[in-house]
């Protein structure tokens, strides 16, 4: 048992694209801005409550700004991916981190998904699904050319791998 103590998962080989930082920052504003904006409008439009809403606006800004400042950089440190001859391996998350491994012999479908914001940044996401309802590996925020190449590679490898994927 003692020999296990110094084992650990190494990070996957490739980082996601740098532009993912921009994508995550933009995404985080959707979470961070609505509340301070609402308070800000009230502050500007209802004079008698001015003081209360001023503080409300400023205080409600804090968690959002903190989130915007920390989350994208942290994610960028964690998010990584790798495809070998036999498996796909990806790490994701920030406070809550995940490492997923799927052997290519068990892959059922390989999809790309590009949301509107991802498209703005020229990014793409690849989902490698298995027969398990919660076994998919998702690699988000990679350059869309890289994603295409990855999908092509995986499709070819998956076809070559024997087995019925269950």
């Amino acid at each position: 048992m003692e020999r296990d103590d110094n084992l650990r998962l190494r990070p996957p080989r490739h980082r996601v694209d740098r532009r993912a930082l921009g994508w995550w920052t933009l995404q985080s504003t959707l979470f961070a801005l609505p509340l301070p904006l609402t308070f800000g409008i009230l502050w500007a439009t209802i004079p008698p409550t001015r003081e209360f809403f001023m503080w409300a606006t400023l205080i409600s800004c804090l968690p959002g700004l903190l989130y915007m400042a920390v989350m994208p950089a942290w994610r960028y440190r964690v998010h990584r991916w790798e495809a070998t001859d036999d498996a796909v391996y990806a790490a994701s998350g920030w406070l809550w981190q995940q490492w997923r491994v799927v052997p290519l012999s068990r892959v059922q479908t390989v999809d790309t998904l590009r949301g509107p914001i991802q498209q703005m940044f020229g990014l793409s996401g690849v989902t490698v699904a298995t027969a398990s309802s919660s076994g998919a590996v998702k690699i988000k925020g990679i350059d869309h050319k890289v994603a295409e190449a990855l999908v092509e590679y995986l499709a070819a490898r998956v076809q070559a791998a024997p087995g019925d994927a269950t």
């Binding site: 084992l7 650990r8 995940q98 490492w99 799927v102 076994g135």
Partner: protein, 512 residues
């Protein structure tokens, strides 16, 4: 009979099976619901039918009419045909659909009869093709006669298995049958109390829709007056007691509805078949080579009474919700009985899903559980305490007492949860056990593992722990080993499925 002339060759319905015409009666009886509700509201309001009631009832009536209409359409257009190698369905008038399922792909055939169907001797036959996350995976024939359904199901299974080599057919035997003494476990499910609230809520809404203000009803007024005339603590105590008793009655009734006539048997050709149900009868068949493991669940009131439930971990039981309602292999039974059934269902040696010699988890896992218990105790106690700062000392005292009582109880649960943690390999199976209020022990076939999902929260990271999830096509899709050290978890995963994780493991010399 008007045959479908738009389909070119083989246009006749020769040999095609139809839904039973008694389905007509089932559909008509649905119309009873809105009519009954209208009459009930007339009685409750004393014969005054105002506009809102009429509109509500009329719209309900129209809705039910449409539902019946759709049902009738299905009755007249659905056809099915079982040939040597495939099962064909045709249905629809405006949107015609044809489906053809190769017999070899059929994983399960289930018969379910809803109460109305049963009155008219009908049943629903469901074909499962084993796709886990899509609704198009299966096909249903809703409303054929019972005899026809049994015959069809027998023929499908016979055809499917014709080309396969099967173990000797002499093992058609009953593994487990309902023992009515297990009814004592009936009141011990937590759903009962929740069910009381759900029932009260929906009664309130229905009455409200019918323009009867439930709070103005004589019965309710009377109760309210009585509640006001006794001391507050007495009123609360009686209310809680009444809710608990109603809840227990409810869960006992549910137990009877679900488990009357329960029987688990191994049928010809390696199929486990579960039959159960009083009003709605269910029959689930699981092919043995789709049975990828077992799960023993011991939720708290049941565990204290020495009971347990056994679930199948199998592919082809449908999506998440369907899997939940179909995976049960036993009713709540004595623990020993559940273990006996487990040993018979998966004959791989004794003690497969017992805690026994499972490896324990590091002390850090205990610390996490104790911390969590303390945090919950403080949070719960903080509610009356906080109210007390505002409302007066009575609540502060209540808050302190709550905290003092909760801390030892929750910490005891934390220790119990820690002792429950365990993992190990037993032959072809990975076994993991965890849980605080409900203990779960799962045994999953190692070949059925189709990937790893390893996760770590910020708190686990500080404690040097992680959670290893084995993903699979069977059951819930992922089964987890909670809170192991990084090295322990990774080594365990690599031993369970050799080679999969190996390329991604590295050694850190300076940590040991």
């Amino acid at each position: 009979m008007t045959s479908d002339t738009t389909v070119p060759s083989s246009a006749t319905d020769q040999g095609w099976g139809k839904l039973n015409s008694r389905l007509l009666l089932v559909n008509l009886s649905f119309l009873g619901a809105p009519v009954g509700m209208f009459l009930a509201s007339l009685v409750l309001t004393g014969g005054e039918a105002n506009l809102q009631v009429i509109i509500t009832s009329a719209s309900l009536f129209v809705t039910f009419l449409i539902i019946s209409g759709i049902g009738l359409m299905r009755l007249f257009t659905t056809r099915y045909l079982l040939t040597e190698d495939r099962l064909e369905f045709r249905s629809g008038l405006l949107f015609r659909s044809r489906r053809s399922i190769p017999v070899g792909r059929i994983r399960g055939v289930d018969l379910t009869a809803k109460p109305f169907h049963r009155i008219f001797g009908l049943t629903t036959l469901r074909i499962d093709t084993g796709e886990q996350s899509s609704s198009v995976g299966g096909c249903t024939l809703d409303g054929i006669s019972k005899a026809e359904a049994h015959e069809l199901s027998r023929r499908i299974i016979a055809l499917r298995d014709a080309g396969r080599i099967r173990p000797a057919a002499d093992d058609d035997s009953v593994i487990c049958r309902l023992d009515w003494s297990w009814l004592r476990y009936g009141p011990l499910t937590v759903w009962g109390v929740g069910g009381v609230f759900i029932a009260a809520g929906s009664t309130y809404r229905v009455l409200n829709d019918l323009n009867v203000n439930p709070l103005e009803l004589g019965v309710v007024k009377d109760l309210e007056r009585r509640f006001g005339s006794v001391p507050l603590w007495y009123g609360i105590l009686v209310t809680v007691l009444v809710i608990v008793v109603l809840g227990m009655l409810g869960s006992t009734a549910t137990f009877i509805e679900n488990w009357a006539g329960y029987e688990l048997r191994r049928e010809d050709g390696g199929i486990l078949r579960i039959r159960r149900g009083l009003l709605a009868t269910r029959s689930v068949s699981i092919e043995e080579h789709h049975l990828r493991g077992l799960e023993l669940v011991e939720p708290i009131p049941l565990r204290w009474a020495g009971g347990a439930k056994l679930n199948a971990v199998a592919t082809g039981l449908g999506g998440e919700d369907e899997n939940r309602s179909r995976r049960a292999l036993t009713s709540p039974t004595p623990r020993a009985e559940a273990l006996r059934v487990a040993a018979e269902a998966l004959p791989v040696g004794p003690g497969l899903i017992e805690r026994g010699d499972l490896l324990g988890h590091p002390r850090a896992a205990l610390r996490r559980r104790v911390n969590r218990a303390l945090i919950w105790a403080v949070l719960i106690a903080a509610v009356p305490f906080g109210l007390g700062l505002w409302l007066g000392t009575g609540f502060i005292v209540a808050g302190v007492i709550t905290g003092v009582v909760l801390v030892p109880i929750l910490v005891a649960f934390a220790f119990n949860a820690y002792r429950t943690l365990g993992h190990g390999l037993r032959g072809r199976y990975l076994v993991a056990s965890s849980g605080a209020f409900a203990h779960r022990t799962v045994a999953l076939q190692r070949e059925a593992i189709i990937g790893w999902k390893i996760s770590r929260t910020a708190f686990q990271r500080r404690a040097g722990l992680l959670t290893v999830g084995a993903t699979t096509a069977a059951g819930e899709g992922v089964y987890r080993v909670h809170d192991v050290t990084e090295g322990q978890g990774i080594a365990f995963a690599e031993t369970a499925v050799p080679g999969l994780l190996a390329p991604f493991i590295e050694r850190v010399p300076d940590r040991g």
